[in-house]
């Protein structure tokens, strides 16, 4: 029996290894040909003119993720406090399934709603030629990361020992003071893990933002069409010639993205480890 379990564990590890090796092998040649510096810090991506600089893509991914975190984390955190501490049980029992339902919606549906509702709305409000923009992508991403932030933060908040809060209340603190001064700090590593997980989801998302971001490799600006690392790969993969520098460069983008995800994962592990030590 133990052999079976070990085997299953090895399969997962094997796939990670396989993907890593494949990405490195197929991602390195283009970086070599283009030059690491020119690839990472080049400001123009235009396969037609043989220019493969992914700085706009990297910055867009960073700005987009940061924007989603800035909007999504406060909303998610306050919802978690509400669910864990404030809400009457009946209300919480309505909101909680709604949040889990939000987590289950496929990303293409987020993209579709964004494309059909959000993008035309932005176009009319801001008088843009087209509503597809970094802003639209940030809003969609913010909604997409809400469920993981809410449920993880809520779990962390509920794990705070009752005695802490009772002690605080007994000392004369109001309920709100207790939640934000006692419960939240006690749950901080869990909340941090929620944020990191949200970052991971946001930076890896492709489908939904491809439908609302416009996909031109511009330097990021809120109301302009932008291209993320993820969408950069998916939009050009179909028509790039097998074995061409363009195709190879797309794999190199994948390698860069993989590197970002690894960083985020390592960070997440660090946060979780610290939580255990606490």
């Amino acid at each position: 029996m133990q052999v079976l379990f070990t085997l299953c564990g090895l399969i997962a590890v094997g796939f990670v290894l396989l993907i890593t090796i494949y990405l490195v092998i197929s991602g390195i040649p283009a970086i070599r040909k283009i030059g690491l510096f020119r690839f990472l810090f080049g400001k123009t991506w235009a396969a037609g003119q043989n220019q493969y600089g992914i700085l706009p893509l990297i910055l867009t991914s960073l700005y987009g993720t940061a924007g989603a975190i800035v909007i999504g984390v406060p909303i998610g955190f306050f919802t978690a406090v509400f669910l864990a501490k404030v809400a009457p049980r009946k209300v919480a029992n309505v909101i909680r399934p709604a949040v889990s339902l939000l987590a289950g919606i496929p990303s293409v549906v987020y993209g579709l709603v964004g494309m059909c509702v959000l993008v035309p709305a932005l176009r009319n409000w801001l008088h843009l030629p087209a509503g597809d923009s970094l802003l639209a992508a940030i809003i969609v991403l913010a909604v997409m990361i809400l469920p993981s932030i809410i449920s993880l933060s809520e779990t962390a908040l509920e794990a705070v020992p009752r005695e802490y809060e009772e002690a605080s209340l007994a000392l004369g603190a109001t309920k709100l003071e207790t939640y934000f001064r006692v419960s939240a700090p006690a749950a901080k590593s869990g909340i941090a893990a929620a944020v990191v997980l949200g970052i991971g989801r946001a930076i890896g998302e492709a489908m939904a933002i491809m439908m609302v971001a416009g996909n031109v490799a511009n330097m990021p600006a809120l109301t302009r069409s932008v291209r993320f690392l993820t969408t950069g790969i998916s939009i050009e993969l179909n028509y790039s010639q097998d074995g061409s520098l363009q195709r190879q460069a797309l794999f190199s983008i994948g390698l860069v993205l993989f590197f970002f995800i690894m960083l985020i994962n390592a960070f997440l592990n660090l946060v979780l480890k610290r939580e255990k030590e606490d």
Partner: protein, 269 residues
């Protein structure tokens, strides 16, 4: 009696398989090389040809029109593929063009848009960002959203090449498929985009270019200018192999018309 019948059946089957397999007795390999835009047409043609001549293998490698033409001139491939007309210097070196298909690109706008007739210069100005408002073209006062395809798309390279705006386009949005371009032009009143002529439907308006309505007929007679030929190139004085000749005959014959149309191009004759 039964035995005789089955023997006859076996014999009949054997004969039919023999004739089925051998075709006209031709065999061999045809190497074609060139335009990436011709991938769809070549795919349809080779597939249909495979059924007709199962013993002939047609290889296609998409390296670009220029290298396809030089390939056939250097003798590294049997048939070169070019999605532009041959240049004089290429013809001087003995390149011979066989036009197998025409590729029309329609410029599409939203049906709400009052602008329905543009000149090639106006189109170039719109796509390079010199004209940014529909009012400059006699439309309503609204910004122009320029929609196009991603780098590597055959439609994009065709459009930019013919209009003369290669690498100079300022796109508002880029999309990964023709359907996306049409769908998004259909849903945005400010938008202009381009799509292969065969993909245009009633959800968008294909504008007149220099006063000519795009269509199969106007592409064929050459009056619709945003089009380019798909050319098979051979070298003068070099005799094609039997297999290559058979493929060229098939591709430029009437039989190929339905496959060329199915691949989204216009049959020229």
């Amino acid at each position: 009696m039964k035995k005789v019948f089955s023997v006859m059946l076996v014999a009949a089957l054997a004969v039919s398989t023999l004739t089925g397999c051998s075709g006209n007795g031709k065999g061999g390999t045809v190497n074609t090389d060139g335009s990436t835009s011709m991938a769809d047409v070549m795919g349809a043609l080779t597939e249909a040809f495979k059924e007709k001549e199962p013993n002939i293998t047609v290889n296609y490698s998409g390296t670009g029109s220029g290298s396809g033409i030089s390939g056939v001139l250097d003798g590294t491939c049997d048939i070169g593929l070019s999605s532009r007309e041959l240049k004089q210097e290429e013809m001087d070196q003995g390149a011979v063009a066989h036009v197998v298909a025409l590729d029309g690109v329609a410029v599409v706008v939203n049906p709400q848009n009052a602008v329905s007739d543009l000149t090639t210069e106006q189109i170039a100005d719109i796509f390079t960002g010199k004209i940014t408002n529909w009012s400059e073209l006699g439309g309503s006062d609204a910004p122009i959203a320029v929609y196009g395809r991603e780098d590597g798309s055959g439609t994009r390279s065709a459009f930019e090449e013919i209009v003369g705006v290669e690498g100079a386009c300022v796109y508002t949005n880029e999309y990964g498929s023709t359907g996306d371009v049409i769908g998004n032009v259909a849903s945005n009143e400010n938008a202009i985009g381009y799509a292969s002529l065969s993909a245009v439907d009633s959800s968008v308006t294909a504008v007149k270019v220099n006063g000519v309505t795009p269509g199969e007929a106007t592409v064929k007679d050459g009056s619709y200018t945003i089009q380019r030929p798909f050319v098979m190139v051979t070298k003068e004085g070099v005799k094609l192999s039997e297999a290559a000749q058979a493929f060229l005959d098939f591709a430029s014959g009437e039989e190929a018309a339905e496959y060329i149309t199915a691949a989204g191009a216009v049959y020229p004759n």
